[in-house]
């Protein structure tokens, strides 16, 4: 078929109506916006290609070309989803895309020609139905956007200055700290969908305490002087980005994520942690620990233990006393592209695990190593008690 530009746009928009409706229903069923976001990305990618590429390149488009063009649009949609952080599960997203593609093909080859006599002759234009379809698509997206906007959690701004804690958050909300906002005594999160952005926490038993909550985001928070853990997470799912934690000496930990194995994967990314007995502890949880800098710990810098599963990648561990990265107690760890330097033996103990190893796999744990850089450590890589170290394929 030889599409005109308007024909391409008309057909694209009209064919998007049914998938968009399905996406709205699906979004309501799964309580997530990814179907609508995905439908929007698919439509955006398609329209961009229609205007910028297809109309200029394709005077005539044979039917078979829909297959490679569909694959191209799928790849671009996936890339866009990645770029816009659309959290769509891959399988359902592919199924949704495939279904939408089939609907578009069925409409293009059969539906539109049946509805409009001169569909092919008009190069895919749908007459007055074209703007109608555009309006409906716009209304659908506007409605979805409006609902999403209305359902956005309230944002609470924490003004500059010192606030007496602990602040206890028991509803879905965004807590945004202004520059110079400090909470003395900790923040406690007890609700799903809470975001804490910016701001500092001073002291408290735990700096930030998250319990029984999902989809919690701790974004660029600073914690100093917590008596136990800088960030303490139990039975929750969190994303921690760009945090700064300064742990005092003693039995303290920078970040402790424990007992979250059934809550989904958590993420600790881009944090800077200084001091404490342990920098980052993942215990009975699934987590990705990526791009952090952990220094001056006095027991272990990064630990994944007690049947945890996850990835420890692109972290920098500097000057740890005792051990650098530890995969422990039947955990499955992928340890890749980390840089571990200056790990020292702890002369105050005879424990073998404290002899200054850069990487340890202990007690039936399996550590898969790839491209790690070990520099100036007292010892290199070792295994204890039936643990295994393998090279990544």
């Amino acid at each position: 078929m030889s599409y005109t530009l308007r024909g391409r746009v008309d057909s694209r928009l009209a064919a998007a109506l049914l998938p968009l409706l399905a996406a709205c229903v699906l979004a309501a069923l799964v309580h997530a916006w990814w179907p609508v976001e995905l439908a929007g990305l698919m439509l955006g990618v398609g329209l961009a290609l229609d205007v910028l590429v297809y109309d200029r390149v394709l005077d005539y488009q044979p039917g078979w070309l829909a297959v490679p063009l569909g694959v191209l649009e799928l790849l671009l949609t996936l890339a866009a989803a990645d770029g816009f952080s659309v959290r769509a599960p891959l399988g359902p997203a592919l199924a949704f895309y495939g279904g939408s593609w089939l609907v578009a093909q069925a409409l293009g080859h059969a539906g539109f020609p049946l509805l409009r006599l001169s569909y092919a002759e008009d190069g895919g234009e749908l007459g007055s139905s074209g703007p109608g379809a555009a309006a409906l698509v716009a209304v659908a997206f506007a409605a979805a956007g409006g609902i999403a906007w209305a359902k956005l959690p309230p944002t609470v701004h924490l003004a500059q200055g010192v606030h007496r804690g602990p602040l206890v958050i028991t509803r879905r909300e965004n807590l945004v700290g202004e520059r110079g906002a400090v909470v003395r005594g900790g923040i406690v999160v007890r609700a799903d969908g809470v975001t804490v952005r910016n701001g500092s926490v001073l002291g408290g038993e735990n700096g930030i305490d998250v319990e029984e909550a999902r989809h919690v985001v701790l974004d660029h928070v600073t914690v100093a002087g917590a008596a136990l853990d800088g960030i303490h997470v139990r039975r929750s799912q969190v994303t921690i980005r760009g945090c700064v934690i300064d742990s005092p000496a003693g039995w303290t930990q920078g970040i402790d994520l424990s007992f979250n194995a059934d809550k989904g994967m958590s993420m600790v990314e881009g944090c800077t942690i200084v001091g404490g007995r342990q920098g980052i502890v993942i215990d009975s949880s699934g987590a990705v620990v990526s791009g952090n800098r952990v220094s001056a710990t006095s027991l272990q810098a990064i630990t994944m233990t007690e049947m945890s599963m996850g990835t420890i990648e692109r972290n920098e561990v500097v000057g740890a006393l005792g051990a650098g990265i530890v995969c422990d107690d039947q955990s499955e760890c992928m340890i890749e592209r980390n840089r571990v330097s200056g790990t020292r033996a702890d002369s105050s103990t005879d424990a073998l695990s404290q002899k200054g190893y850069g990487i340890i796999s202990n007690y039936k744990a399996t550590a898969e190593l790839a491209d790690n850089e070990l520099l100036g450590n007292a010892r290199g890589v070792t295994t204890f008690a039936g643990a295994v170290v393998t090279d990544a394929p």
Binding site: S2, D59, H109, A110, P113, L117, Y119, A120, E121
Partner: protein
């Protein structure tokens, strides 16, 4: 009251009738004028004469008003195989002549066509207030579509009285040596027919044929290419139409392989002029131009219709401007409508004219 007359009951008239009915015009508002009620009669005779087995047209080469479902779908259902559909999306599906004729017969029966055909020949169309007289005693028709078909077979002047000559579209067998004049689709078909019959073939051609799947570029079948065509000035449009009229046949080994083999065996050769062959087959197509059709020639002469060489200058919707206004329509379908639609002599072209005609009928309907 009968509002609409279709003059000519061939395939173009048939497609127009089906399109009008599909578009909401009641069958009893339509009168079709043709001595032969079989819409495929002429086409069948010509196809049989050149032993055509498959259509040159692709999936859209059918008579249904909508492009879906076409013959590929019908064929796929019948054969319980997706192959026709796959071939269709690859522009490689050419329905068989038998399938096409069966489809025409089926539509003819289902559509009540025969009841609408008035078996009379129309010699002239006379405009009157609010419509046209087509034949005495049949009243005034508000809208008239002339689907007259080709105005006869074309023969080169120098061969007109040669007793050896037969036109490709007339029944014939093949002698031991056959000269085929022409280089289009019919000529190519005749080369293969004669070779298959055991003849030696001499191809006489004035120019090398173009190799293209369809008569005209695909984009010219839709608004994308058509808009540019319809914006052209007269001389440019004439040049384009001449180019589209040059002989061509589809590319592909199904054509090339037997010809190459026959050439290697000394059974196929090309010559510039007709030689002493016992049989000369003129695959030279149809006469072109309004002047070869008595009805059109009369219209042009009486009403001084705007023409450019052999073409009547019709509007983009195939209507004749001098005889069309808010209350009545005179439009052309088939080859005479080429000025508006270069592939007017195809089934898709007939549908283009029919849809445009339908729009005018709808716009001007009064009851």
């Amino acid at each position: 009251m009968t509002q609409v007359a279709i003059v000519g009951g061939g395939l173009a008239g048939f497609v127009s009738y089906l399109t009008l009915v599909h578009g909401g015009v009641q069958p009893d508002e339509i009168a079709v004028f043709d001595p032969d009620p079989d819409p495929a009669a002429i086409w069948r005779r010509r196809a049989a004469a050149i032993r055509q087995r498959a259509m040159r047209s692709e999936s859209d080469g059918h008579c249904l008003p909508t492009s879906f479902p076409g013959l590929a779908v019908r064929d796929a259902v019948r054969r319980r195989s997706p192959v026709p559909l796959v071939r269709s999306v690859c522009d490689r599906y050419h329905p068989s002549v038998d399938l096409f004729l069966e489809h025409v017969a089926e539509l003819r029966e289902q559509s009540g066509w025969d009841e609408r055909v008035r078996r009379e020949r129309v010699e002239r169309v006379l405009p009157t207030e609010g419509g046209f007289f087509v034949l005495e005693g049949h009243g005034v028709f508000r809208h008239v579509l002339l689907a007259l078909g080709h105005p006869g077979l074309a023969l080169p002047e120098e061969l007109a009285d040669d007793p050896r000559v037969v036109h490709a579209y007339e029944p014939h067998e093949y002698s031991e040596e056959v000269t085929v004049v022409g280089a289009g689709m019919a000529a190519a078909t005749e080369w293969l027919n004669a070779l298959a019959a055991g003849s030696r073939v001499v191809s006489v051609r004035r120019r090398e044929p173009a190799r293209r799947p369809l008569n005209v570029e695909r984009e010219l079948f839709s608004r994308r290419g058509l808009a540019g065509f319809q914006r052209t000035g007269r001389s440019e449009r004439v040049a384009l139409l001449r180019r589209f009229g040059e002989p061509s046949y589809p590319p592909g080994p199904a054509w090339d392989r037997p010809l190459d083999q026959a050439a290697a065996d000394g059974r196929f050769r090309i010559e510039p002029t007709v030689n002493g062959s016992v049989q000369v087959i003129c695959a030279t197509g149809f006469r072109r131009g309004w002047m070869h059709d008595a009805l059109l020639a009369d219209l042009v002469a009486r009403h001084r219709l705007d023409t450019e060489l052999g073409w009547i200058v019709v509007a983009d919707d195939c209507s004749v401007p001098a005889l069309t206004d808010e209350t009545r329509t005179l439009a052309l379908a088939g080859a005479p409508a080429q000025w508006a639609y270069p592939a007017a002599d195809t089934l898709v072209g007939a549908k283009y004219a029919a849809r445009a005609f339908l729009r005018r009928v709808r716009r001007c309907r009064t009851r």
